[in-house]
Amino acid sequence: GTPAAQQTEEGCVSEDLSGAERTLAFSNWPQYMDVDEDDESRRPSLDGFVSRTGIQVTYTEDINDNNEFFGKVQNQLAACQSTGRDIMVLTDWMTARMIRLGWIQKLDRSKLPNVEANLLPSLRNRPFDTEDQYAIPWQSGLAGLAYNGRVTGEIRTVDELLTRPDLKGRVTALSEMRDTMGLLLMSNGHDPTDFTAAQFDDALTKLRRAVDSGQIRRFTGNDYAPDLAKGDIAACVGWSGDIIQLGFEDERIKFVVPESGVLLWSDNLLVPNRAGHKANAEELINYYYDPTVAAQLAAYVNYICPVQGAQAELEKIDPELAANPLIFPDEAMLAKAKVFMALDEQQEREYETKFQQVIGA
Protein backbone atom coordinates (compact mmCIF):
# COMPACT_ATOMS: atom_id res chain seq x y z
CA GLY A 1 0.00 0.00 0.00
CA THR A 2 0.92 3.63 0.09
CA PRO A 3 1.01 5.77 3.20
CA ALA A 4 -1.40 8.60 3.75
CA ALA A 5 -0.60 11.79 1.95
CA GLN A 6 -1.36 13.84 5.01
CA GLN A 7 1.50 16.05 6.15
CA THR A 8 2.00 17.98 9.32
CA GLU A 9 3.89 21.12 10.07
CA GLU A 10 6.30 19.14 12.21
CA GLY A 11 6.62 16.25 9.81
CA CYS A 12 7.31 18.30 6.73
CA VAL A 13 9.54 21.20 7.45
CA SER A 14 10.40 23.72 4.78
CA GLU A 15 13.52 25.76 4.76
CA ASP A 16 13.33 29.34 3.55
CA LEU A 17 16.25 30.36 1.36
CA SER A 18 14.82 33.76 0.51
CA GLY A 19 17.64 35.50 2.31
CA ALA A 20 20.20 34.02 0.00
CA GLU A 21 18.16 33.62 -3.16
CA ARG A 22 16.17 36.51 -4.48
CA THR A 23 14.07 34.36 -6.76
CA LEU A 24 10.51 33.19 -6.91
CA ALA A 25 8.80 30.48 -8.96
CA PHE A 26 5.22 31.47 -9.62
CA SER A 27 2.68 29.11 -11.16
CA ASN A 28 -0.50 30.63 -12.40
CA TRP A 29 -3.40 30.22 -14.81
CA PRO A 30 -3.24 31.66 -18.29
CA GLN A 31 -4.74 35.07 -18.79
CA TYR A 32 -4.30 35.83 -15.14
CA MET A 33 -1.57 38.41 -15.41
CA ASP A 34 -1.40 41.73 -17.20
CA VAL A 35 0.58 41.74 -20.42
CA ASP A 36 2.04 44.69 -22.25
CA GLU A 37 -0.07 45.55 -25.28
CA ASP A 38 2.94 46.13 -27.50
CA ASP A 39 5.33 43.53 -26.23
CA GLU A 40 3.63 40.34 -25.22
CA SER A 41 6.68 39.07 -23.41
CA ARG A 42 6.43 41.84 -20.82
CA ARG A 43 4.17 41.75 -17.78
CA PRO A 44 4.06 45.28 -16.40
CA SER A 45 2.88 44.63 -12.83
CA LEU A 46 5.22 41.71 -12.41
CA ASP A 47 8.08 43.67 -13.88
CA GLY A 48 7.21 46.34 -11.38
CA PHE A 49 7.59 43.83 -8.59
CA VAL A 50 10.95 42.72 -9.89
CA SER A 51 12.30 46.21 -10.15
CA ARG A 52 10.91 47.15 -6.78
CA THR A 53 12.22 44.15 -4.85
CA GLY A 54 15.00 42.74 -7.00
CA ILE A 55 13.38 39.35 -6.74
CA GLN A 56 13.61 37.47 -10.04
CA VAL A 57 10.29 35.81 -10.84
CA THR A 58 9.93 32.74 -12.96
CA TYR A 59 6.34 33.03 -14.04
CA THR A 60 4.75 29.93 -15.53
CA GLU A 61 1.20 29.63 -16.82
CA ASP A 62 0.96 25.95 -16.14
CA ILE A 63 -2.34 25.73 -14.32
CA ASN A 64 -5.17 24.89 -16.64
CA ASP A 65 -7.48 23.06 -14.33
CA ASN A 66 -7.46 22.48 -10.59
CA ASN A 67 -7.63 18.71 -10.78
CA GLU A 68 -5.09 18.46 -13.53
CA PHE A 69 -2.67 20.62 -11.61
CA PHE A 70 -3.27 18.76 -8.40
CA GLY A 71 -2.49 15.55 -10.22
CA LYS A 72 0.77 17.06 -11.34
CA VAL A 73 1.99 18.11 -7.91
CA GLN A 74 0.31 15.75 -5.52
CA ASN A 75 2.95 13.05 -5.71
CA GLN A 76 5.63 15.40 -4.54
CA LEU A 77 3.52 17.05 -1.91
CA ALA A 78 2.29 13.76 -0.55
CA ALA A 79 5.91 12.70 -0.21
CA CYS A 80 6.94 16.02 1.28
CA GLN A 81 9.04 16.90 -1.73
CA SER A 82 9.50 20.20 -3.45
CA THR A 83 7.19 20.88 -6.37
CA GLY A 84 9.68 23.39 -7.67
CA ARG A 85 7.15 26.15 -7.14
CA ASP A 86 7.15 28.82 -4.48
CA ILE A 87 3.71 30.17 -5.05
CA MET A 88 0.70 28.97 -6.92
CA VAL A 89 -2.91 29.92 -7.51
CA LEU A 90 -5.74 27.49 -6.83
CA THR A 91 -9.46 27.73 -6.38
CA ASP A 92 -11.18 27.73 -2.98
CA TRP A 93 -12.21 24.12 -2.84
CA MET A 94 -8.80 22.93 -3.97
CA THR A 95 -7.21 25.31 -1.54
CA ALA A 96 -9.30 23.78 1.19
CA ARG A 97 -8.17 20.30 0.21
CA MET A 98 -4.53 21.28 0.18
CA ILE A 99 -4.73 22.94 3.52
CA ARG A 100 -6.54 19.93 4.93
CA LEU A 101 -3.74 17.70 3.63
CA GLY A 102 -1.19 19.90 5.39
CA TRP A 103 0.54 20.74 2.15
CA ILE A 104 0.47 24.51 2.46
CA GLN A 105 2.88 26.64 4.43
CA LYS A 106 1.59 29.14 6.96
CA LEU A 107 2.23 32.72 5.96
CA ASP A 108 3.71 35.33 8.24
CA ARG A 109 0.88 37.86 8.52
CA SER A 110 3.27 40.45 9.82
CA LYS A 111 4.88 40.56 6.42
CA LEU A 112 1.56 41.19 4.70
CA PRO A 113 0.51 44.67 5.86
CA ASN A 114 -1.23 45.43 2.55
CA VAL A 115 -3.31 42.29 2.88
CA GLU A 116 -4.15 43.21 6.43
CA ALA A 117 -5.26 46.58 5.22
CA ASN A 118 -6.91 45.89 1.90
CA LEU A 119 -8.35 42.37 1.72
CA LEU A 120 -12.08 42.60 1.15
CA PRO A 121 -13.94 41.70 4.33
CA SER A 122 -16.11 39.18 2.51
CA LEU A 123 -12.98 37.20 1.71
CA ARG A 124 -11.58 37.13 5.21
CA ASN A 125 -11.80 34.26 7.71
CA ARG A 126 -13.18 31.79 5.25
CA PRO A 127 -14.10 28.34 6.65
CA PHE A 128 -11.04 26.57 5.24
CA ASP A 129 -8.65 29.23 6.45
CA THR A 130 -10.25 30.85 9.37
CA GLU A 131 -7.26 32.99 10.24
CA ASP A 132 -6.22 33.94 6.71
CA GLN A 133 -2.81 32.47 7.22
CA TYR A 134 -2.64 29.97 4.35
CA ALA A 135 -4.51 31.35 1.41
CA ILE A 136 -4.75 34.93 0.18
CA PRO A 137 -7.17 35.55 -2.69
CA TRP A 138 -5.62 36.37 -6.06
CA GLN A 139 -8.79 37.11 -7.96
CA SER A 140 -12.41 36.19 -7.72
CA GLY A 141 -14.51 35.57 -10.71
CA LEU A 142 -17.70 34.29 -12.23
CA ALA A 143 -18.40 31.15 -14.15
CA GLY A 144 -21.08 31.75 -16.74
CA LEU A 145 -21.76 31.38 -20.43
CA ALA A 146 -19.85 32.80 -23.34
CA TYR A 147 -20.28 32.83 -27.08
CA ASN A 148 -18.54 34.02 -30.18
CA GLY A 149 -20.98 36.22 -32.07
CA ARG A 150 -18.97 35.78 -35.21
CA VAL A 151 -20.08 32.19 -35.55
CA THR A 152 -23.38 32.04 -33.70
CA GLY A 153 -26.27 34.07 -32.42
CA GLU A 154 -26.71 35.24 -28.89
CA ILE A 155 -27.06 32.75 -26.09
CA ARG A 156 -29.01 33.48 -22.97
CA THR A 157 -29.56 30.28 -21.06
CA VAL A 158 -27.78 27.14 -20.06
CA ASP A 159 -30.49 25.10 -21.76
CA GLU A 160 -29.84 26.89 -25.01
CA LEU A 161 -26.21 25.99 -24.70
CA LEU A 162 -27.01 22.36 -24.07
CA THR A 163 -29.72 21.85 -26.68
CA ARG A 164 -29.68 24.45 -29.43
CA PRO A 165 -29.18 22.41 -32.62
CA ASP A 166 -27.07 25.02 -34.39
CA LEU A 167 -24.54 24.72 -31.60
CA LYS A 168 -24.28 20.99 -31.83
CA GLY A 169 -20.68 19.92 -31.36
CA ARG A 170 -19.48 23.48 -31.05
CA VAL A 171 -19.93 23.81 -27.33
CA THR A 172 -17.53 23.23 -24.51
CA ALA A 173 -18.15 23.09 -20.80
CA LEU A 174 -15.72 23.24 -17.93
CA SER A 175 -14.10 20.19 -16.45
CA GLU A 176 -14.35 22.11 -13.22
CA MET A 177 -17.26 20.18 -11.71
CA ARG A 178 -18.44 23.00 -9.46
CA ASP A 179 -18.73 25.52 -12.28
CA THR A 180 -20.44 23.32 -14.82
CA MET A 181 -22.69 21.54 -12.35
CA GLY A 182 -23.42 24.75 -10.47
CA LEU A 183 -24.76 26.34 -13.63
CA LEU A 184 -26.81 23.28 -14.43
CA LEU A 185 -28.25 23.08 -10.92
CA MET A 186 -29.30 26.69 -11.19
CA SER A 187 -30.77 26.17 -14.63
CA ASN A 188 -32.89 23.44 -13.03
CA GLY A 189 -33.97 25.93 -10.40
CA HIS A 190 -31.81 24.45 -7.67
CA ASP A 191 -29.35 26.18 -5.45
CA PRO A 192 -25.70 25.22 -5.75
CA THR A 193 -25.13 26.55 -2.28
CA ASP A 194 -27.40 23.92 -0.90
CA PHE A 195 -28.58 20.98 -3.00
CA THR A 196 -29.40 17.35 -2.56
CA ALA A 197 -27.86 14.33 -4.16
CA ALA A 198 -31.02 13.82 -6.19
CA GLN A 199 -30.85 17.35 -7.48
CA PHE A 200 -27.26 16.78 -8.44
CA ASP A 201 -28.23 13.63 -10.30
CA ASP A 202 -30.94 15.50 -12.17
CA ALA A 203 -28.46 18.06 -13.32
CA LEU A 204 -26.00 15.36 -14.25
CA THR A 205 -28.61 13.59 -16.35
CA LYS A 206 -29.15 16.79 -18.24
CA LEU A 207 -25.45 17.05 -18.81
CA ARG A 208 -25.17 13.45 -19.92
CA ARG A 209 -27.85 14.00 -22.48
CA ALA A 210 -25.94 16.89 -23.91
CA VAL A 211 -22.76 14.82 -24.03
CA ASP A 212 -24.41 11.82 -25.59
CA SER A 213 -26.14 13.86 -28.22
CA GLY A 214 -22.79 15.27 -29.25
CA GLN A 215 -23.79 18.78 -28.30
CA ILE A 216 -20.71 19.18 -26.11
CA ARG A 217 -17.43 18.87 -27.88
CA ARG A 218 -15.11 18.88 -24.95
CA PHE A 219 -14.74 19.60 -21.27
CA THR A 220 -11.96 22.05 -20.82
CA GLY A 221 -9.83 23.84 -18.37
CA ASN A 222 -8.72 27.30 -19.20
CA ASP A 223 -7.96 26.09 -22.74
CA TYR A 224 -11.46 26.88 -23.98
CA ALA A 225 -10.25 30.41 -24.61
CA PRO A 226 -8.20 29.92 -27.81
CA ASP A 227 -10.91 27.75 -29.34
CA LEU A 228 -13.60 30.28 -28.58
CA ALA A 229 -11.47 33.07 -29.96
CA LYS A 230 -10.86 31.14 -33.17
CA GLY A 231 -14.50 30.31 -33.52
CA ASP A 232 -13.88 26.58 -33.45
CA ILE A 233 -16.12 26.75 -30.46
CA ALA A 234 -19.26 28.82 -30.79
CA ALA A 235 -20.23 28.90 -27.16
CA CYS A 236 -19.05 27.57 -23.86
CA VAL A 237 -19.08 27.66 -20.14
CA GLY A 238 -16.30 30.08 -19.24
CA TRP A 239 -14.86 32.45 -16.75
CA SER A 240 -15.72 36.11 -16.74
CA GLY A 241 -12.29 37.72 -16.95
CA ASP A 242 -11.07 35.53 -19.77
CA ILE A 243 -14.07 36.33 -21.89
CA ILE A 244 -13.89 40.01 -21.24
CA GLN A 245 -10.26 39.96 -22.28
CA LEU A 246 -11.20 38.17 -25.50
CA GLY A 247 -13.91 40.74 -25.97
CA PHE A 248 -11.30 43.43 -26.22
CA GLU A 249 -9.81 41.77 -29.25
CA ASP A 250 -13.09 40.80 -30.82
CA GLU A 251 -16.13 42.55 -29.46
CA ARG A 252 -18.42 39.82 -30.73
CA ILE A 253 -17.13 37.51 -28.00
CA LYS A 254 -19.44 37.99 -25.09
CA PHE A 255 -19.81 36.81 -21.52
CA VAL A 256 -23.36 35.95 -20.54
CA VAL A 257 -24.81 35.89 -17.07
CA PRO A 258 -27.74 33.51 -17.46
CA GLU A 259 -30.96 34.48 -15.84
CA SER A 260 -30.81 31.40 -13.65
CA GLY A 261 -27.56 32.64 -12.10
CA VAL A 262 -23.75 32.42 -12.16
CA LEU A 263 -21.11 30.87 -9.98
CA LEU A 264 -18.83 32.95 -7.83
CA TRP A 265 -15.44 31.66 -6.83
CA SER A 266 -12.04 32.85 -5.73
CA ASP A 267 -8.56 31.69 -6.58
CA ASN A 268 -5.94 31.89 -3.87
CA LEU A 269 -2.25 32.39 -3.59
CA LEU A 270 -0.65 29.44 -1.85
CA VAL A 271 2.88 28.63 -0.79
CA PRO A 272 3.29 24.86 -0.92
CA ASN A 273 5.43 22.81 1.43
CA ARG A 274 9.13 22.74 0.71
CA ALA A 275 8.86 25.88 -1.37
CA GLY A 276 12.21 27.50 -0.74
CA HIS A 277 11.24 31.14 -1.00
CA LYS A 278 8.33 31.79 1.29
CA ALA A 279 9.51 35.22 2.31
CA ASN A 280 9.86 36.24 -1.32
CA ALA A 281 6.37 34.92 -1.93
CA GLU A 282 5.08 37.00 0.96
CA GLU A 283 6.68 40.06 -0.60
CA LEU A 284 4.85 39.33 -3.83
CA ILE A 285 1.53 38.82 -2.10
CA ASN A 286 1.95 42.04 -0.23
CA TYR A 287 2.92 43.83 -3.45
CA TYR A 288 -0.24 42.74 -5.23
CA TYR A 289 -2.34 44.00 -2.36
CA ASP A 290 -1.17 47.51 -3.08
CA PRO A 291 -4.36 49.05 -4.56
CA THR A 292 -2.54 50.68 -7.47
CA VAL A 293 -0.94 47.38 -8.44
CA ALA A 294 -4.22 45.60 -7.96
CA ALA A 295 -5.91 48.12 -10.22
CA GLN A 296 -3.22 47.69 -12.85
CA LEU A 297 -3.82 43.95 -12.77
CA ALA A 298 -7.59 44.24 -12.69
CA ALA A 299 -7.59 46.59 -15.64
CA TYR A 300 -6.06 43.82 -17.68
CA VAL A 301 -7.46 40.55 -16.35
CA ASN A 302 -10.95 41.85 -15.70
CA TYR A 303 -11.65 39.49 -12.86
CA ILE A 304 -13.21 40.49 -9.59
CA CYS A 305 -10.58 42.27 -7.59
CA PRO A 306 -10.24 41.24 -3.93
CA VAL A 307 -8.36 44.41 -3.03
CA GLN A 308 -10.13 47.24 -1.37
CA GLY A 309 -9.31 50.58 -2.89
CA ALA A 310 -8.48 49.13 -6.25
CA GLN A 311 -11.76 50.28 -7.71
CA ALA A 312 -10.85 53.83 -6.84
CA GLU A 313 -7.46 53.38 -8.40
CA LEU A 314 -8.97 51.82 -11.51
CA GLU A 315 -11.32 54.72 -11.90
CA LYS A 316 -8.24 56.78 -12.51
CA ILE A 317 -7.10 54.50 -15.31
CA ASP A 318 -10.35 53.39 -16.91
CA PRO A 319 -13.60 54.58 -15.41
CA GLU A 320 -15.67 52.39 -17.69
CA LEU A 321 -14.02 49.26 -16.36
CA ALA A 322 -14.37 50.43 -12.83
CA ALA A 323 -18.10 50.53 -13.38
CA ASN A 324 -18.30 47.05 -14.88
CA PRO A 325 -20.30 44.85 -12.51
CA LEU A 326 -18.40 41.85 -13.69
CA ILE A 327 -15.27 43.34 -12.18
CA PHE A 328 -16.71 45.18 -9.25
CA PRO A 329 -20.04 43.40 -8.83
CA ASP A 330 -23.02 45.39 -7.75
CA GLU A 331 -25.86 44.14 -5.64
CA ALA A 332 -27.83 42.90 -8.62
CA MET A 333 -24.91 40.88 -9.82
CA LEU A 334 -24.20 39.52 -6.38
CA ALA A 335 -27.79 38.39 -6.09
CA LYS A 336 -27.35 36.23 -9.14
CA ALA A 337 -23.96 34.88 -8.08
CA LYS A 338 -23.88 31.74 -5.99
CA VAL A 339 -20.99 29.97 -4.33
CA PHE A 340 -20.88 26.22 -4.75
CA MET A 341 -21.39 24.53 -1.44
CA ALA A 342 -18.53 23.02 0.49
CA LEU A 343 -18.34 19.25 0.12
CA ASP A 344 -16.93 16.82 2.59
CA GLU A 345 -14.43 14.29 1.36
CA GLN A 346 -17.07 11.61 0.88
CA GLN A 347 -19.38 13.89 -1.08
CA GLU A 348 -16.60 15.29 -3.14
CA ARG A 349 -15.48 11.85 -4.15
CA GLU A 350 -18.97 10.76 -5.01
CA TYR A 351 -19.89 13.81 -7.03
CA GLU A 352 -16.51 14.05 -8.75
CA THR A 353 -16.63 10.42 -9.78
CA LYS A 354 -20.11 10.72 -11.21
CA PHE A 355 -19.21 13.90 -13.00
CA GLN A 356 -15.99 12.52 -14.42
CA GLN A 357 -17.82 9.52 -15.74
CA VAL A 358 -20.16 11.76 -17.67
CA ILE A 359 -17.44 13.96 -19.07
CA GLY A 360 -15.86 10.86 -20.45
CA ALA A 361 -12.84 10.07 -18.42
Partner: protein, 270 residues
Protein backbone atom coordinates in the same frame (compact mmCIF):
# COMPACT_ATOMS: atom_id res chain seq x y z
CA UNK B 1 -2.65 -1.34 -73.98
CA UNK B 2 0.66 0.32 -73.34
CA UNK B 3 -0.90 2.94 -71.16
CA UNK B 4 -2.66 0.35 -69.08
CA UNK B 5 0.58 -1.52 -68.70
CA UNK B 6 2.37 1.63 -67.63
CA UNK B 7 -0.40 2.33 -65.18
CA UNK B 8 -0.24 -1.19 -63.85
CA UNK B 9 3.41 -0.73 -63.10
CA UNK B 10 3.32 2.77 -61.72
CA UNK B 11 0.09 3.25 -59.83
CA UNK B 12 1.81 2.22 -56.62
CA UNK B 13 4.21 5.11 -56.96
CA UNK B 14 1.26 7.43 -57.39
CA UNK B 15 -0.40 6.14 -54.27
CA UNK B 16 2.89 6.42 -52.40
CA UNK B 17 3.22 10.05 -53.39
CA UNK B 18 -0.31 10.72 -52.20
CA UNK B 19 0.47 9.10 -48.87
CA UNK B 20 3.63 11.15 -48.59
CA UNK B 21 1.49 14.18 -49.27
CA UNK B 22 -0.71 13.12 -46.39
CA UNK B 23 2.36 12.77 -44.18
CA UNK B 24 3.51 16.23 -45.16
CA UNK B 25 0.20 18.04 -44.99
CA UNK B 26 0.43 19.02 -41.32
CA UNK B 27 4.10 19.82 -41.70
CA UNK B 28 3.13 22.21 -44.45
CA UNK B 29 0.65 23.86 -42.10
CA UNK B 30 3.28 24.13 -39.39
CA UNK B 31 5.76 25.56 -41.86
CA UNK B 32 3.24 28.05 -43.19
CA UNK B 33 2.33 29.18 -39.71
CA UNK B 34 5.98 29.70 -38.92
CA UNK B 35 5.80 32.56 -41.40
CA UNK B 36 2.58 33.91 -39.97
CA UNK B 37 2.05 37.10 -38.08
CA UNK B 38 -1.01 36.07 -36.08
CA UNK B 39 -3.76 38.60 -35.70
CA UNK B 40 -3.81 37.95 -31.99
CA UNK B 41 -2.25 35.81 -29.35
CA UNK B 42 -5.06 33.32 -29.47
CA UNK B 43 -5.41 33.14 -33.18
CA UNK B 44 -4.05 30.26 -35.16
CA UNK B 45 -5.17 31.44 -38.59
CA UNK B 46 -2.86 32.52 -41.32
CA UNK B 47 -2.92 36.28 -41.24
CA UNK B 48 0.10 37.91 -42.75
CA UNK B 49 3.45 36.76 -44.05
CA UNK B 50 6.44 37.64 -41.96
CA UNK B 51 9.98 36.53 -41.35
CA UNK B 52 9.96 37.88 -37.82
CA UNK B 53 9.39 34.52 -36.24
CA UNK B 54 12.43 33.10 -37.96
CA UNK B 55 14.53 36.14 -37.21
CA UNK B 56 13.58 35.99 -33.61
CA UNK B 57 12.74 32.41 -32.76
CA UNK B 58 13.13 32.89 -29.03
CA UNK B 59 10.28 35.27 -28.44
CA UNK B 60 9.55 33.54 -25.20
CA UNK B 61 12.56 32.42 -23.29
CA UNK B 62 10.62 29.49 -21.81
CA UNK B 63 10.16 28.06 -25.23
CA UNK B 64 13.79 28.21 -26.18
CA UNK B 65 14.81 26.85 -22.83
CA UNK B 66 12.37 24.03 -23.36
CA UNK B 67 13.78 23.31 -26.81
CA UNK B 68 17.30 23.33 -25.47
CA UNK B 69 16.29 21.09 -22.63
CA UNK B 70 14.60 18.67 -24.98
CA UNK B 71 17.68 18.56 -27.14
CA UNK B 72 19.85 17.91 -24.10
CA UNK B 73 17.55 15.19 -22.83
CA UNK B 74 17.26 13.72 -26.29
CA UNK B 75 21.00 13.71 -26.68
CA UNK B 76 21.71 12.13 -23.32
CA UNK B 77 18.94 9.58 -23.65
CA UNK B 78 20.10 8.73 -27.16
CA UNK B 79 23.70 8.24 -26.13
CA UNK B 80 22.88 6.10 -23.12
CA UNK B 81 20.16 4.09 -24.84
CA UNK B 82 22.31 3.56 -27.91
CA UNK B 83 25.25 2.34 -25.89
CA UNK B 84 23.20 0.07 -23.67
CA UNK B 85 21.07 -1.19 -26.52
CA UNK B 86 23.95 -1.78 -28.90
CA UNK B 87 25.87 -3.73 -26.33
CA UNK B 88 22.80 -5.82 -25.62
CA UNK B 89 22.22 -6.39 -29.29
CA UNK B 90 25.76 -7.70 -29.62
CA UNK B 91 25.27 -10.10 -26.76
CA UNK B 92 21.99 -11.33 -28.19
CA UNK B 93 23.20 -11.67 -31.74
CA UNK B 94 26.57 -13.20 -31.03
CA UNK B 95 26.20 -15.41 -28.03
CA UNK B 96 24.10 -18.32 -26.97
CA UNK B 97 23.42 -18.27 -23.27
CA UNK B 98 20.83 -19.23 -20.75
CA UNK B 99 17.91 -16.90 -20.31
CA UNK B 100 17.95 -15.56 -23.85
CA UNK B 101 14.27 -15.96 -24.46
CA UNK B 102 13.41 -14.35 -21.14
CA UNK B 103 15.58 -11.45 -22.10
CA UNK B 104 13.92 -11.17 -25.47
CA UNK B 105 10.59 -10.84 -23.72
CA UNK B 106 12.04 -8.20 -21.42
CA UNK B 107 13.12 -6.26 -24.47
CA UNK B 108 9.88 -6.73 -26.34
CA UNK B 109 7.58 -5.78 -23.46
CA UNK B 110 8.39 -2.06 -23.26
CA UNK B 111 7.46 -1.78 -26.91
CA UNK B 112 4.19 -3.56 -26.19
CA UNK B 113 3.35 -1.41 -23.20
CA UNK B 114 1.25 1.69 -23.65
CA UNK B 115 3.27 4.77 -22.81
CA UNK B 116 0.69 5.73 -20.29
CA UNK B 117 1.31 2.61 -18.28
CA UNK B 118 5.04 3.13 -18.38
CA UNK B 119 4.68 6.74 -17.37
CA UNK B 120 2.43 6.14 -14.43
CA UNK B 121 4.28 3.15 -13.07
CA UNK B 122 7.62 4.86 -13.32
CA UNK B 123 6.22 7.89 -11.57
CA UNK B 124 5.07 5.69 -8.73
CA UNK B 125 8.58 4.30 -8.47
CA UNK B 126 10.24 7.70 -8.35
CA UNK B 127 7.81 9.03 -5.81
CA UNK B 128 8.07 6.05 -3.51
CA UNK B 129 11.84 6.14 -3.85
CA UNK B 130 11.93 9.80 -2.97
CA UNK B 131 13.63 10.65 -6.25
CA UNK B 132 13.00 14.30 -7.05
CA UNK B 133 11.32 14.58 -10.44
CA UNK B 134 13.01 16.63 -13.10
CA UNK B 135 15.62 16.55 -15.82
CA UNK B 136 17.22 13.30 -14.74
CA UNK B 137 14.04 11.37 -14.18
CA UNK B 138 13.05 12.31 -17.71
CA UNK B 139 16.37 11.06 -19.03
CA UNK B 140 15.98 7.80 -17.14
CA UNK B 141 12.49 7.31 -18.50
CA UNK B 142 13.51 8.08 -22.05
CA UNK B 143 16.46 5.72 -21.94
CA UNK B 144 14.10 3.05 -20.69
CA UNK B 145 11.70 3.22 -23.60
CA UNK B 146 14.38 3.83 -26.24
CA UNK B 147 16.59 0.87 -25.35
CA UNK B 148 14.28 -1.72 -26.83
CA UNK B 149 14.08 0.06 -30.15
CA UNK B 150 17.85 0.32 -30.27
CA UNK B 151 18.30 -3.37 -29.49
CA UNK B 152 15.89 -4.41 -32.20
CA UNK B 153 17.38 -2.12 -34.84
CA UNK B 154 21.01 -2.97 -34.14
CA UNK B 155 20.33 -6.65 -33.76
CA UNK B 156 18.74 -6.79 -37.16
CA UNK B 157 21.84 -5.28 -38.67
CA UNK B 158 24.16 -7.58 -36.76
CA UNK B 159 22.39 -10.74 -37.70
CA UNK B 160 22.52 -9.65 -41.30
CA UNK B 161 26.27 -9.24 -41.10
CA UNK B 162 28.62 -11.86 -42.47
CA UNK B 163 30.51 -13.37 -39.54
CA UNK B 164 33.28 -14.48 -41.86
CA UNK B 165 34.41 -10.90 -42.20
CA UNK B 166 35.49 -10.94 -38.60
CA UNK B 167 37.35 -14.17 -39.14
CA UNK B 168 39.04 -12.66 -42.13
CA UNK B 169 40.13 -9.71 -40.01
CA UNK B 170 41.59 -11.97 -37.35
CA UNK B 171 43.33 -13.91 -40.05
CA UNK B 172 44.83 -10.61 -41.16
CA UNK B 173 46.50 -9.90 -37.85
CA UNK B 174 43.69 -7.93 -36.23
CA UNK B 175 43.25 -8.83 -32.58
CA UNK B 176 39.84 -8.97 -30.94
CA UNK B 177 39.67 -5.27 -30.22
CA UNK B 178 41.06 -4.29 -33.60
CA UNK B 179 38.58 -6.58 -35.29
CA UNK B 180 35.77 -4.94 -33.42
CA UNK B 181 37.06 -1.46 -34.02
CA UNK B 182 37.94 -1.83 -37.70
CA UNK B 183 35.41 -4.29 -39.01
CA UNK B 184 32.45 -4.99 -36.77
CA UNK B 185 31.79 -1.47 -35.63
CA UNK B 186 32.00 0.23 -39.01
CA UNK B 187 29.78 -2.40 -40.55
CA UNK B 188 27.16 -2.17 -37.85
CA UNK B 189 27.42 1.59 -37.68
CA UNK B 190 24.61 2.36 -40.11
CA UNK B 191 22.34 0.28 -37.90
CA UNK B 192 23.56 2.09 -34.83
CA UNK B 193 23.07 5.47 -36.46
CA UNK B 194 19.57 4.51 -37.51
CA UNK B 195 18.85 3.34 -33.97
CA UNK B 196 20.22 6.55 -32.52
CA UNK B 197 18.10 8.65 -34.85
CA UNK B 198 15.05 6.68 -33.90
CA UNK B 199 15.89 7.01 -30.22
CA UNK B 200 16.37 10.74 -30.54
CA UNK B 201 13.11 11.22 -32.35
CA UNK B 202 11.28 9.13 -29.75
CA UNK B 203 12.82 11.09 -26.90
CA UNK B 204 12.51 14.52 -28.45
CA UNK B 205 8.87 13.95 -29.22
CA UNK B 206 7.74 12.20 -26.09
CA UNK B 207 4.92 13.77 -24.19
CA UNK B 208 3.09 11.12 -22.23
CA UNK B 209 5.87 9.52 -20.21
CA UNK B 210 7.58 12.86 -19.79
CA UNK B 211 4.45 14.53 -18.54
CA UNK B 212 4.28 12.07 -15.68
CA UNK B 213 7.90 12.21 -14.70
CA UNK B 214 9.00 15.75 -15.30
CA UNK B 215 8.08 17.50 -12.08
CA UNK B 216 8.38 21.15 -13.02
CA UNK B 217 10.84 20.62 -15.82
CA UNK B 218 9.32 21.65 -19.12
CA UNK B 219 10.37 19.94 -22.34
CA UNK B 220 9.45 21.19 -25.77
CA UNK B 221 6.41 18.93 -26.23
CA UNK B 222 5.22 19.91 -22.80
CA UNK B 223 5.71 23.52 -23.64
CA UNK B 224 3.67 23.04 -26.80
CA UNK B 225 0.98 21.28 -24.80
CA UNK B 226 0.83 24.11 -22.31
CA UNK B 227 1.03 26.75 -24.99
CA UNK B 228 -1.82 25.11 -26.87
CA UNK B 229 -4.00 25.72 -23.84
CA UNK B 230 -3.34 29.41 -23.83
CA UNK B 231 -2.53 30.25 -27.45
CA UNK B 232 0.56 29.17 -29.27
CA UNK B 233 3.28 31.68 -30.06
CA UNK B 234 4.09 31.41 -33.77
CA UNK B 235 7.73 30.70 -33.00
CA UNK B 236 6.75 27.20 -31.91
CA UNK B 237 6.13 26.53 -35.57
CA UNK B 238 9.60 27.79 -36.37
CA UNK B 239 11.06 25.19 -34.06
CA UNK B 240 8.84 22.49 -35.51
CA UNK B 241 9.77 23.39 -39.05
CA UNK B 242 13.44 23.71 -38.22
CA UNK B 243 13.51 20.30 -36.53
CA UNK B 244 11.93 18.81 -39.61
CA UNK B 245 14.56 20.44 -41.78
CA UNK B 246 17.36 19.34 -39.51
CA UNK B 247 16.07 15.79 -39.56
CA UNK B 248 15.88 15.82 -43.32
CA UNK B 249 19.42 17.09 -43.63
CA UNK B 250 20.77 14.79 -40.97
CA UNK B 251 19.27 11.63 -42.32
CA UNK B 252 20.08 12.59 -45.85
CA UNK B 253 23.67 13.37 -44.93
CA UNK B 254 24.16 10.07 -43.13
CA UNK B 255 22.67 8.08 -45.94
CA UNK B 256 24.75 9.94 -48.47
CA UNK B 257 27.86 9.40 -46.40
CA UNK B 258 26.97 5.77 -46.14
CA UNK B 259 26.43 5.46 -49.81
CA UNK B 260 29.70 7.18 -50.55
CA UNK B 261 31.49 4.74 -48.28
CA UNK B 262 29.81 1.71 -49.70
CA UNK B 263 30.92 2.99 -53.08
CA UNK B 264 27.81 3.70 -55.00
CA UNK B 265 25.73 1.38 -57.08
CA UNK B 266 26.29 -2.31 -57.01
CA UNK B 267 27.65 -3.58 -60.25
CA UNK B 268 25.38 -5.86 -62.16
CA UNK B 269 26.41 -9.46 -61.74
CA UNK B 270 29.02 -10.51 -64.28
Amino acid sequence: MRISRWLAEHWVLGVALLVLGYLFLPIAVVAALSFNRPSSRLSYDFNEFTLDNWRNPCATSEMCEAVLRSVQIGFLATVVATVLGTVMAFALARHRFRGRSGLNVLIFLPMATPELVMGTSLLALFVSGGVPLGFWTIVIAHVMFCVSFVVVTVKARLTGMDGRLEEAAMDLYAGEWQTFRRITLPLVLPGIVAAALLAFSLSFDDFIVTNFNSGTTVTFPMYVWGAAQRGIPPQVNVIGTAMFGVALLLVLATSLAHRARAGGQRRPAP
